[in-house]
């Protein structure tokens, strides 16, 4: 167990026992999927209308590429089911806007694209090969950030990477998808890690798991016992342990400089799901067309960890899990701390969807906030060592220069401050406003 | 150039008009003001000395002392108009003393002590304890008069001020000799005496040999060091040099200096102490 602790953080009620013991179930093929052209950070995909004639009426097969972008920071999207393209146009997106998407009606046959075949033995692949396979498979960070994985595997020449961390912290309350993946796809994770180590030429692999998942820790440790360049690191349970900078600090003792990427300190980290996807892409040739997510919360009738095809509508997933209870008041895509509340369940599951959470009136806080009593609990809970109350106050007064002086831009919106605030002030929301305004002014 | 000339001229004219106006008003009001001030002062004198017929004013170091006579030309007493440094600025007051050197009354003219705390100096309760005290009395806090708790600075300042004033009246105006210790009349020996100081007792040891004050030592004190150094060893040296207990304590850490004098006085009032190791003191 790591003896290093990051500063701040909170201990919310984890509620993981609802689903942590439930094995991953495969959801049957949906009737219809909606595949948005942007499921990652970076340039959105362009529809492959010219070359592959993807248009209304086109028959597509599983794994067939639907959209791509030549930009480096971008990731292609593939057809998750076989069937007919029935619509191309704007569709609801979990981010709260409408985004160009391809709708496919299933033909029920689940026919796979002929081009899909295993890439062969890892030993025979070059670094370039691995990067190409990862890119072509459309793999992005499955923890939620959806940063294209191949970009992280291609560091600049002058920044050698010596450690790869697999993030199995899963610090968000309720979510257990990563937990189950670690238990059920342990071998694939380790294979994925090996592929990454090779692609980066890194010497050490660390698998970080929060100590509230002892079974996953044990499973991992057993598997890597033989490997001398891979170790499992038990992380103290504290939110947001899974945040990149906190994880790196606890697992390696290295501090990522403010405003910089982990590669600055020679570290790259990937989610466990990403490792599994990389393993599947190399060993089976399979592009990223499905993922595991946790459907949970008091509002879900039959909570479960389900493996679904990307593009499946959240409504269908919820139906599969027994539907919503009457008392459901809030539907969240992602975890309760950083997830996005949805006004409408008619949105597709995308690459970054780690969970669907339905909260009932008992869990949802609706009352007005009181004035700040300057208790400074937000200051002591902030893992980035910021002063959330001061940023929020500056933002409220429209003084964004002052907000920037309080390092508003370093906030990664973990939500600890809003969580802990006894006055129930929406601190994160104010900080988001400040960040957006500061960025807008900077780009001018 | 012409502009500046015009501007200056305007200012000069305005100033001249203003000055002449003020002169006019001054000439009217000044006699009235003077007359009123005299009247006020005389009223105060009358209050203390109802039999007053005339008075003679003396100024000593900026303080005013009025020697009061009755119709027969007999001296009735003295009223002093003096000031002392209080907690918050100067307290100025009249101190009336009869011809025997006993205090008749105190009248606070002006002060800026804290209302509700320091202004107890204006109350009869506080003032009455001085009535009848003469300059032979010690007039020291805790001996024959008391400061008021919570307002020790204001009342303490008054006590010290009154003691100084009455000593001055006695010596300079009434020409009395303060009862003094003639060292030649005191049995040789070592004397010890202590008085209450700022944070605790202040004790002195005095050695008298062959009718001469040989030495004065402060053997124990808890004074505020910064003030104490102004008084020690200066005051003991003066006592030895002048062979006089009541030396001038006006300079330096007045409070500490006065305490040393008071302690010496106390020591000489009592008998010589016998030291355990004997002998030494009489050699």
């Amino acid at each position: 167990m790591s003896m290093v602790f990051f500063k701040g953080g909170v201990h919310p009620e984890y509620q993981k026992e609802i689903t942590s013991t439930l094995a991953i179930v495969k959801m049957p093929l949906p009737q219809k999927v909606v595949v948005p052209m942007q499921q990652h950070i970076g340039a959105p995909c362009e529809l492959l209308a010219d070359v592959d004639k993807i248009e209304k009426g086109t028959e597509v097969k599983v794994g067939q590429k639907l959209g791509d972008n030549k930009g480096f920071v971008s990731s292609p999207v593939h057809a998750p089911i076989s069937g007919t393209v029935t619509d191309i146009g704007l569709y609801n997106h979990p981010l709260g806007m409408k985004i160009n998407a391809v709708t496919i009606e299933s033909d029920g046959r689940d026919e796979w694209d002929e081009a899909i075949k295993p890439a062969g033995d890892l030993d025979n692949l070059t670094v370039e090969d691995i990067r190409r396979i990862v890119r072509e498979a459309g793999i992005v960070g499955l923890g939620g950030a959806t940063f294209p994985a191949h970009v992280k595997l291609s560091p600049p020449q002058d920044k050698p990477i010596d450690i790869v961390i697999i993030n199995g912290a899963e610090c968000e309350p309720y979510l257990t998808a990563d937990h189950r993946v670690m238990l059920e796809k342990t071998e694939e994770i380790v294979f994925g890690l090996k592929a990454m180590l090779k692609a980066l030429g890194a010497g050490e692999g660390i698998i970080g798991v929060e100590d509230n998942k002892p079974d996953a820790l044990r499973a991992m440790e057993q598997l890597v016992a033989e490997e001398d360049n891979i170790r499992v690191c038990s992380l103290p349970t504290k939110y947001p342990q899974g945040a990149e900078k906190m994880l790196i600090y606890v697992a390696t003792g290295r501090t990522v400089p403010a405003g910089a990427l982990p590669l600055e300190v020679g570290v790259v980290n990937h989610n466990v799901g990403t490792a599994v996807a990389i393993s599947q892409a190399i060993r089976e040739g399979k592009p990223l067309i499905e993922r595991v997510l946790t459907v949970t919360g008091a509002g879900i009738n039959k909570p479960a960890n389900v493996q679904v095809r990307l593009g499946t509508l959240v409504t269908d997933v919820i139906d599969f899990c027994g539907g919503l209870k009457e008392s459901t008041l809030k539907l969240i895509i992602g975890g309760p701390m950083m997830g996005l509340a949805q006004p409408d369940p008619d949105v597709p599951v995308i690459k970054g969807t780690s969970g669907i959470l339905a909260l009932t009136d008992e869990d949802v806080y609706l009352a007005e906030s009181s004035p700040c009593i300057r208790c400074a609990k937000c200051v002591s809970s902030c893992p980035m060592n910021l002063m959330p109350t001061s940023i929020a106050q500056a933002a409220e007064h429209g003084d964004f220069t002052r907000a920037e002086k309080f390092y508003a831009l370093d906030c990664f919106e973990c939500g600890c401050c809003s969580y802990i605030c006894p006055s129930k002030i929406p601190l994160v929301q104010w900080i988001r406003i400040a960040k957006a305004e500061i960025m807008k002014r900077k780009s001018k | 150039m012409r502009d500046i000339f015009r501007l200056s001229l305007t200012l000069v004219v305005v100033a001249i008009i203003s000055a002449s106006l003020l002169t006019g008003v001054y000439s009217v009001t000044d006699p009235i003001i003077r007359e009123r001030q005299e009247k006020d002062y005389f009223q105060a004198l009358e209050e203390f000395f109802p039999a007053i017929d005339q008075f003679e004013t003396r100024e000593i170091e900026g303080d005013r002392f009025d020697l009061v006579y009755d119709q027969a030309g007999e001296k009735l007493g003295v009223m002093a108009t003096v000031g002392t440094q209080g907690y918050d600025g100067k307290i100025s007051y009249n101190l009336a003393v009869d011809y025997d050197g006993e205090i008749i009354g105190i009248r606070i003219i002006s002060h800026s002590e804290t209302p509700g705390i320091g202004d107890v100096i204006t109350t009869d309760n506080f003032q009455e304890q001085f009535i009848g005290k003469g300059f032979d009395d010690p007039i020291r806090d805790g001996e024959d008069v008391d400061s008021i708790s919570g307002a020790t600075l204001s009342t303490g300042a008054m006590i010290d001020g009154i003691r100084r004033t009455i000593t001055q009246i006695g010596e300079d105006i009434l020409g009395r000799e303060r009862k003094a210790f003639d060292p030649t009349e005191i049995v040789d020996g070592i004397y010890q005496g202590s008085v209450e100081g700022t944070h605790g007792p202040l004790t002195v040891e005095v050695e008298i040999a062959d009718g001469i004050i040989k030495r004065v030592d402060v053997i124990e004190h808890n004074e505020t060091e910064a003030y104490f150094v102004d008084a020690y060893p200066e005051i003991p040296e003066k006592i030895v040099e002048e062979q006089e207990v009541y030396v001038d304590t006006q300079t330096g850490g007045t409070l500490s200096a006065e305490r040393i004098v008071a302690a010496v006085e106390k020591a000489l009032e009592g008998g010589p102490v016998d030291k355990d190791d004997g002998g030494e003191s009489n050699e």
Binding site: P371, S418, P422 | G116
Partner: protein, 324 residues
Amino acid sequence: MIIIEEKLVVSSSPHMRSVESIQSVMTDVLIALFPAALMAVLLFGYRALITMVISIITAMLIEAVWRRKRDLFSDGSAAVTGLLLALTLPAAVPWWLVVVGSASAIIIGKQVFGGIGYNIFNPALVGRAILVVSWGGHMAGDIWPSPQPFAFGIDVSTVTGATALAAPEIAMTFSFSELFIGNIPGSLGETSALALLIGGIWLVYKGHIDYRIPGGFIATVFVLGAAFGGGFYGNQLMTGLFHVVAGGVVIAAIYMATDFVTTPVTPLGRLIFGIGCGLITMLIRLWGTLPEGVTFAILIMNAATPIIDNFTIPRQFGGVNKSA
């Protein structure tokens, strides 16, 4: 900001909130003050109880009327202010004095600034300061009612004694255990360091107070007391300890200097605040004209809070010192 669209609620993340609220925090503070209040009743009898009840009820009533709310307890901050004020008063003060003090604490100390969260000075101490300035005679200075342990019905105002801080020779008349347990003349709640520490431990355990403020405060008082206190009471270290347990340092350090609203929010700022309070307290005690200085020490440091906050902005995680 909460938008209810049809049935589903949409709001900004996070979607979980801790159960802690202003009310629960204030309730915890009241619980923490209970040992001190109990001790006050045990030592000073029914007069202590009456003073505390009047003070709390006045504070809550005034606050409820001012805010036009029917809820008397509301967020609990008025009750805390009322109790804290009562604990700083002498054991036997006239009832009207308590009412005026409690009302001024709420009105002038808090509500005129805009209510909870906006006040600059600790309301209870504003109330106390106003009482001291207005009715110095009742508020004691050197002379306080002496405790009559376990004599509930006795009017304690009849027997008075000097505070241990008045002079070293008076301090010497109290044993250290008396000073620690609280069987000494002083204000209702300040005498028993033991009861206050019990409450303080509870507050630290609940995470409501930052150890830096009481730590800095008490440590500074101890160090300055040991260095400049004159070395009575046994030796230098005991003098330092004496300055901590005699008078109001413990209650001030744990309950008043830690008042959320009026103290800095940055960790370093809190340390500076605590040390500043200790420094001013000892300046007043050792070289000033009052026997005790905690009230004014905290009020002065309250005024300095925005400046302290401004100069102690912590560096963000991974931040580099610009001067380096």
